[in-house]
Amino acid sequence: MASETIAITGTAEIGRPISERLHDWIVTVDHKKLGILYIVYSLIFLVIGGVEATIIRVQLIVPHNQFVSPQVFNRMMTMHGTTMIFFVAMPILFGFGTYLIPLMIGARDMAFPRLNAFSFWMTAFGGLLLYFSFVGGNGLYGAGNAPDVGWWAYAPLTSRAFSVGHSTDFWTLALLVSGVGSIGTAVNFITTILCMRCPGMTLGKMPLLAWLNLVMGGMVILAVSPLTAAQAMLCIDRYLGGHFFDTQAGGSAVLWMHFFWIFGHPEVYVLIIPAFAFLSEIVPVFSRKPIFGYPVMVAATVCIGFVSLSVWAHHMFTVGMNSYANSFFTITTMAVGVPTGIKIFNWLGTMWGGKIHFRTPMLFCIGFLFQFLIAGLTGIMLGASPFNWQLSGSYFVVAHFHYVIVGGILFALFGAFYYWFPKMSGRMYDEVLGKCHFWLFLIGFHMTFDFMHIPGILGMPRRIYTYEPGRGWEIWNLIVTIGVVFQAAGVLVFVVNLLWSLFKGEPAGNDPWDAWTLEWSTTSPPPDYNFATIPVVHSRRPLWDLKHPEDPDWKYE
């Protein structure tokens, strides 16, 4: 294959001073380096967010615990949520997309490489700004403190009257800045996917990862913008004396909720759709079959994209909307479960009749399938408005969304890590350590998040720094906290595996998985220019066509 004939052997790399190599990384506009920067950045914040979660769980291990004060707890719960959504989940998914999309569509880079770099640095700066709040939150004279208003920052708790000092402003500005980065990345994704596909790769022939990131990009530009607008309004309230959310002046607290959730709900689909993309690439390869029902998968995703813009007020069922509004949001919420369920069935259909290889990426994907099924079903429960009146604001909801984000998205991310790590680094990870990570994390995940549903059913609200004994909550909180140990152990094994394999892993070769999409036709890691000559494709699996010239895909679809 011509794309690998002039491989950079790396001899030119040795001997370059570290300062020069560091400078390369800082000024790079290469999508592969930026992708890795996003991923490494997110992993660091994953650990920090995990520490915050651990502090929360230690405080809640027994009732009336005094591990941290209520003020510190409230900052931990705010920062944990904000960090995980904006500085772990979003950047890491953007990172994988940035790395993979040009390679998978046969392009040399993204449509706007400098915008790509700008977007990354905006996101990175946003995270640093948020964490600076620990030091600078109260201005120069007070000890700093981080925002403590919850990651949704409901009004009027965020007004100057109830949020003294600048901690809330750090929340607002950090997210405004990183929001600009997100919109930039989304514009880049959309433009790259629509305008830079290699010859022959019509929209119907591009990998599902490209399709799903296209839909995700569309959702980001429609959803993150309302958050930006709402935060601008909050700044106007806090600094220019505005009254957008000032209930004393006739303003509406519910208006903030609408604006926030018009962002907040599509946001979670922005997070899950790239996870779906990973599943759609990994499950076929490890089942040795093409994805079942490609057109339906595309249609379902587009459907999810549109319908998810209409469900936001299911986060507001308790706010006192009338019965017609509650009914409307009930049906849209349940409706969005249909295309989502269809995807699970299609992955099942992909595995059906195949030959499943239980390598680490596939283990994580199988975990995803079971867990996302459960998460989706608890979501349907929460979508039934009266049931929601009991379950919302409780640990049942916390369990539900962690099931989606950890049991779904994080599992899919781990799968993606193990799957594409050989391509990005040129080395294989250690399979034994990988499986060890999977089992440890699986046990910890289920210990924590299965049993977390129960205190919610027993009446335990969320965002409380302590709870009363004698309500039947103690045993469940204990089990939930113990599960953290296993998850931490799993993540530790993961980090060790990554680092060790980076330096000592077996050379991976171009195509360790015998896969079918274009990224596996380059060297591992790919050269700066990706492809020596731009490929021409005729089907959804160009490498299958090459490996099976007697039975190419383009004969069938």
Partner: protein
């Protein structure tokens, strides 16, 4: 195999959990489980939740079994010949089936749910209903009974409702500061208290007793200790309670010194005691403080020691609450507490 064993452990855990949800070894009346309703709206929600759980449970069982079957039957065997399996790209019939069936399920679920939404939210208020206005504060609950002339805090008294002559309690909710949420799981789903907005909810308890709940919308530092106690009284007990609450404060001559302390310090800025000059609205009404089982919105039992501690150093009980440490001398503190102890 170890996966199956692990699944078995989880199922056992869930069964244990279910047992506990429905009332386990802890004093069952103190467990605010949504699955042990004792009031009409909570009953409706419980019945709906059983339907939803049955349907979602069935979906789970079917898909779970299919997934387990797929990963075991189609795993690559040790003696695999390395050939690729038949490359199947899709099937229109199968796709249609698994689109149509979920749509029908969603339709059924929605219709069942919509009925319950309307039956709870659009329920008419019967003539015998008790009316309560609840106003949320950081971090306590204000309860007013406008028709009965009663003002109290944190502990809500309502009469039990007899189906032949219903006396539900219809509540109007709002807030003086940030968002709060009234959640007593065994009596009803939660409804938020939002400033500059009036919300409505109702409860119709079937059995007397004390029902526990707490604020369910993050409202600031002491959100966790904005606890709720709802006392469902027999009709006679409720009438007696109302009669006592309507009375102005007890005037006990032996506590005159304490009353002086109260009325000449900042206490009157925040608290009201009817029949005296104290008419503050920022904090709870103290006219019948001693009729309550707890203080500080449930954060501490209502005993003289706790009361003294609360006045001396609120942060010891509820750090971050808006009650200031009153900086009184021990003598004044004693007198004040003695006075407050007379406010039955």
């Amino acid at each position: 195999m170890s996966k199956i064993a692990g699944i078995g452990v989880l199922i056992a855990g869930f069964l244990l959990a279910a047992r506990l949800c429905f009332g386990g070894p802890a004093d069952p009346s103190q467990i605010p489980s949504i699955f042990r309703p004792q009031s009409t709206p909570a009953d409706s929600i419980f019945r709906l939740s059983m339907v939803v759980l049955t349907i979602t449970g069935a979906i789970f069982a079917v898909v779970f079994c299919l997934l387990v079957y797929a990963i075991s039957k189609y795993r690559r065997r040790g003696d695999d010949d390395g050939r690729e399996p038949p490359q199947v790209y899709g099937s229109n019939q199968v796709e249609i089936a698994w689109i149509v069936i979920p749509v029908l399920i969603v339709l059924v679920l929605f219709l069942v749910t919509a009925r319950v939404i309307h039956s709870i939210q659009d329920a008419p208020q019967p003539p015998g209903a008790i009316e309560v206005v609840a106003i949320g504060h950081q971090f306590w609950w204000e309860f007013r009974y406008p028709a009965l002339g009663v003002v109290t805090a944190n502990e809500l008294h309502v009469p039990v409702s007899n189906p032949s002559h219903p006396t539900p309690t219809f509540m109007t909710l709002s807030s003086a500061d940030t968002d709060h949420s009234f959640w007593v799981p065994r009596l009803a789903g939660k409804t938020d208290l939002i400033p500059n907005r009036i919300n409505h909810m109702w409860i119709e308890p079937h059995e007397t007793g004390v029902y526990l709940g707490q604020c369910a919308q993050y409202c600031g530092t002491q959100h966790a200790k904005m606890l709720l106690r709802v006392y469902v009284d027999s009709p006679e007990q409720f009438d007696r309670w109302v009669q006592e609450e309507k009375k102005p404060a007890v005037l006990n001559g032996s506590a005159e010194q304490g009353r002086q302390v109260f009325e000449t310090t900042a206490c009157v800025n925040c608290h009201a005691i009817s029949g005296t000059v104290a008419d503050g609205r920022f904090g709870p009404d103290l006219t019948h403080l001693m009729s309550r089982d707890t203080i500080a919105s449930g954060a501490a039992p209502n005993t003289p020691e706790q009361l003294k501690l609360w006045i001396r150093n609120p942060d010891a009980i509820k750090p971050g609450s808006l009650m200031p440490a009153m900086q009184l001398s021990e003598k004044d503190l004693d007198a004040l507490t003695t006075y407050l102890e007379t406010l039955r």
